[in-house]
C-alpha cells in the first residue's frame, strides 16, 4: 500500500475531508497549504480596496463565474427607491457597482429580487452546497458551514488574493466536536444552543478550530436553525462551524436556482453522502451540551460569551476568579448599566430587532409572527422586523406575515444588515437598550452608546409583547391576560 492510500483510509472528520479535497498544494517546512476556493461572496464594505489592488497590479478576477456580489451593510431599509442619503455609504455602493461592472462580477443591487444579506443570498440561490469551500470578507461567512461547506471569513487582503488566484494559503485548522444531544423543549431554539455554547467555551475558546456541530439535537434542526448556529461560530473565536449534510440539507437545496440538476444532482449527492465524519475519526477537542435541560438564553454583557439562562440573574463580577474576566465583566456591567443580581427578566428594553444574518430567514419571521399574532407591542417599545433578503420579504408577504407584524405595531422593512452593525440609518440612540436577534453585543455595535442583549426570535417576540426580557414560557404563565 502506498503512503497516499494509507492517508486516504485514515478515518477523517468532515472538515478534514473538505480540506483535503481542495488541496492545490501541500505546504512544506512551515508554509501553509494552498486551498482552492469554490465560491467567493462579495459585498460593498470589504471589497473596494481589494479591487483597487487588482487594478494597480493589472490583475483580472480569475474566476468571475465563482464570484457573486450583493449590497447589504450600508443599504437603508426604508425608501430604497431613493438615492442613499449618506454620501459615504452611497459612494461605497456606487464603487461596488463600478467594480463589478469593470471586473465582470454578477451583482444583486438594492431593488433586485436576489439582493439581501450576503449570507442569506448564497444559500437561497442554491450556490452554498455541501463539501465546497466558501469565503467572504465578512466574519459571519461561517453561516454557510450549515451545509457541510468549509466557510471562512477573511480580510480585505485575502479578498484580493482570492479574486486574483481563486485560492488561499491556509494553515490546517484544529477540529472541535460540539455534540448536542437530546430534545429541545418548545420555546428553546438553535439560537439558545449557540449562545449557551459560546458562554461555555468563551469568545476565545474556538480559536484555531473548525467546530463541527453533532448530536441528535443538531440533526433535528432545520437548515435555518443550523445556519443560525454556524453563523455564530466566529463569536466563539472559531474560523468555521460545520454540520454534516443529510436529507434535510438535500431537501433544502433541491430545485434551487443553482443546485445541480439531473445526473449532476445524483453525482453530487453521491459525493455529499461521503462527507460525514468517519467513525473512529479523532477530534482535537470535544464539548458536550445537553439539549433537554437548555432554557432560553440571553446575554447580559458586551461580548457574546457573557450570557446566562433567561431565568437567571445578572452575574456578580466579584465572584469571578480570573482577574481579566472580572474586570471585563465589571466594565460590561457599567456599559450596560446593569447591577449584579438583577433578574434578567426584570430588564426593560426600548427596542426589539428581528433580523441579521443570524435570524432573518422566513422560518425566523414565521416563528416570531406566530407568537405576536393577535397581540400588541408593549408601550414605549419599537420593533424593527428586517427580512434577510428581498426574496424572504416577498415570501413572508405572500404568507401575510408583514400584516401580522404591522398589526402588532412593528415596522416592516426592506432587506439588509440593518440594526446589526450601525453602518446604515438603523441604529440605537445612546443609552437605548435592545433585545436583538443579531450576533454581537459589543459596545456601540448597534449604534454609539447602544446596549444589546442577544436573543432568539422567540425571545424577541415575547419581549416585544411584555416590554421586559421574556420568553414564550412567560406568555404561558401570563395566561388569559395575554
Amino acid at each position: 500500500m502506498t503512503d497516499a492510500s494509507l492517508l486516504e483510509e485514515r478515518p477523517r472528520t468532515l472538515a478534514e475531508k473538505v480540506w483535503d479535497k481542495h488541496l492545490v498544494s501541500k505546504g512544506e517546512n512551515g508554509t501553509p497549504d494552498l486551498i482552492y476556493i469554490d465560491l467567493h461572496l462579495v459585498h460593498e464594505v470589504t471589497s473596494p480596496q481589494a479591487f483597487d489592488g487588482l487594478r494597480v497590479a493589472g490583475r483580472p478576477v480569475r474566476r468571475p463565474d465563482l464570484t457573486i456580489a450583493t449590497e447589504d451593510h450600508n443599504t437603508p431599509t426604508l425608501a430604497i427607491d431613493k438615492p442613499i442619503a449618506d454620501l459615504t455609504s452611497r459612494t461605497q455602493i456606487e464603487t461596488l457597482r463600478r467594480n463589478c461592472e469593470e471586473f465582470g462580477i454578477r451583482l444583486h443591487s438594492l431593488g433586485d429580487i436576489e439582493q439581501g444579506i450576503v449570507h442569506v443570498v448564497g444559500p437561497q440561490l442554491g450556490l452554498t452546497q455541501p463539501g465546497i469551500t466558501v469565503v467572504c470578507g465578512d466574519s459571519h461567512t461561517s453561516t454557510h458551514g450549515a451545509f457541510g461547506a468549509m466557510a471562512i471569513g477573511i480580510g480585505t487582503s485575502e479578498v484580493e488574493h482570492v479574486m486574483a488566484t481563486q485560492t488561499l494559503p491556509l494553515k490546517p485548522f484544529k477540529t472541535m466536536a460540539i455534540t448536542v444531544d437530546g430534545t429541545l423543549r418548545p420555546g428553546v431554539t438553535a439560537k439558545d444552543i449557540i449562545l449557551a455554547v459560546i458562554a461555555k467555551i468563551g469568545t476565545g475558546g474556538g480559536q484555531g478550530y473548525v467546530l463541527e456541530y453533532r448530536g441528535s439535537a443538531i440533526r433535528a434542526l432545520s437548515m435555518e436553525g443550523r445556519m443560525t448556529i454556524c453563523n455564530m461560530s466566529i463569536e466563539a473565536g472559531a474560523r468555521a462551524g460545520m454540520v454534516a449534510p443529510d436529507a434535510i440539507t438535500y431537501d433544502y437545496l433541491k430545485g434551487r436556482a443553482h443546485a445541480p440538476e439531473g445526473q449532476d444532482w445524483l453525482d453530487a449527492v453521491a459525493y455529499w453522502d461521503t462527507l460525514a465524519t468517519d467513525g473512529g475519526a479523532v477530534f482535537d477537542a470535544e464539548v458536550f451540551l445537553d439539549a433537554d435541560t437548555l432554557e432560553p438564553f440571553v446575554t447580559w454583557g458586551t461580548n457574546p460569551g457573557q450570557g446566562v439562562s433567561l431565568s437567571e440573574a445578572v452575574p456578580d463580577p466579584s465572584v469571578i476568579v480570573d482577574a481579566n474576566e472580572r474586570s471585563a465583566a465589571e466594565r460590561a456591567l457599567e456599559y450596560m448599566d446593569l447591577a449584579a443580581g438583577t433578574p434578567m427578566k426584570d430588564i426593560r428594553v426600548d427596542t426589539v430587532f428581528l433580523g441579521s444574518c443570524t435570524n432573518s430567514r422566513v422560518e425566523d419571521l414565521r416563528a416570531a409572527a406566530k407568537i405576536i399574532q393577535g397581540r400588541t407591542l408593549a408601550p414605549g417599545v419599537r420593533m424593527l422586523v428586517v427580512p434577510g433578503s428581498a426574496r424572504v420579504r416577498i415570501e413572508a408577504e405572500a404568507e401575510g406575515l408583514d400584516k401580522i407584524f404591522t398589526d402588532f405595531g412593528a415596522e416592516w422593512r426592506f432587506a439588509g444588515c440593518s440594526m446589526c452593525l450601525g453602518m446604515n440609518p438603523d441604529q440605537l440612540a445612546p443609552g437605548e437598550r435592545c433585545a436583538s436577534t443579531s450576533n454581537r453585543n459589543f459596545e456601540g455595535r448597534q449604534g454609539k452608546g447602544g446596549r444589546t442583549h442577544l436573543v432568539s426570535p422567540l425571545v424577541a417576540a415575547a419581549t416585544a409583547i411584555r416590554g421586559t426580557l421574556s420568553s414564550p414560557w412567560d406568555l404561558v404563565q401570563d395566561g388569559v391576560t395575554q
Binding site: 464570484t67 480580510g155 487582503s157 485560492t167 476565545g204
Partner: protein, 201 residues
C-alpha cells in the same frame, strides 16, 4: 511590503481583554473606499474619554501596543489593522488574538506577537512605572525588551518569514499558477457557478 526586523518605540499599555475589532475601529469608519487615513478612527469611541490611555501625552508616538487577551476578535474588518498602522503602531503584543485579525496583520506588516498572560502583566507593570519608556521588538529572536525585562513572543514561522522578507502573498501564490490551473482542470462539473445566472425552473 517593507522588510521587518526590529522596532524600537514607545510602548502603550492597554489593560483590557476582549478588545474586539468594533472597538478598534467602529463601523461608521468602514465606509471609505481607500486603504489609508484611518488614524483618527482608531479606538474612536474610547478616545472620546480624556482618561483613555491613548490620550495620555506620555504615550504620544507609541509604536508597540501591549493588550490583554483576545485582541482583535469579532468582525473581519482589515480596517482595524489599517487604523493601527496608520496611527503608527508596528507591533501588537497580546496573550491571544482573533484569528482573522492575526491573519490580516501579517499581510499588512503589523507584527502580532503572542505573549503569556504573565508577561503581559509584567510588561504593563514596567511600562506604567515609566510611561513613555521605549520597548524593542526583535522579530529575528522573537523577543520584546523593555528596561531590564525581556520576554519572548510567538509568531508562526511562515508569517515571520514573510515579514522578515517583506513578501507579497499574491505574488507568491501566482508562482504556483500552473498547479492552480491543473487543479481546476479536474473540478467536478456539478460544483456551483454563479455565471450564467439561473432562475428557478
Amino acid at each position: 511590503m517593507e522588510k521587518f526586523t526590529t522596532v524600537t518605540g514607545i510602548a502603550l499599555p492597554l489593560r483590557r481583554s476582549n478588545v474586539d475589532t468594533d472597538q478598534i475601529i467602529p463601523a461608521a469608519y468602514l465606509k471609505r473606499v481607500t486603504k489609508t487615513g484611518f488614524e483618527d478612527a482608531l479606538f474612536a469611541r474610547w478616545r472620546a474619554d480624556p482618561d483613555f490611555v491613548l490620550n495620555d501625552p506620555a504615550y504620544t508616538g507609541a509604536r508597540v501596543l501591549v493588550a490583554g487577551a483576545d485582541f482583535g476578535t469579532g468582525s473581519s474588518r482589515e480596517h482595524a489593522v489599517w487604523a493601527l498602522r496608520d496611527y503608527g503602531f508596528d507591533v501588537v503584543l497580546s496573550p491571544r488574538f482573533g484569528d482573522i485579525f492575526r491573519g490580516n496583520s501579517g499581510k499588512q506588516g503589523l507584527l502580532a506577537g503572542q505573549i503569556s498572560e504573565a508577561d503581559a502583566q509584567r510588561l504593563w507593570d514596567v511600562i506604567e512605572v515609566c510611561p513613555g519608556i521605549e520597548l524593542t521588538v526583535d522579530l529575528v529572536s522573537r523577543t520584546a525588551r523593555v528596561g531590564a525585562l525581556t520576554v519572548t513572543f510567538e509568531i508562526d514561522d511562515y508569517t515571520r518569514w514573510r515579514l522578515l522578507e517583506g513578501l507579497d502573498d499574491i505574488g507568491l501564490t501566482l508562482r504556483d499558477e500552473a498547479r492552480i490551473a491543473e487543479f481546476e482542470s479536474h473540478r467536478e462539473p456539478w460544483r456551483p457557478r454563479t455565471l450564467p445566472a439561473r432562475q428557478v425552473s
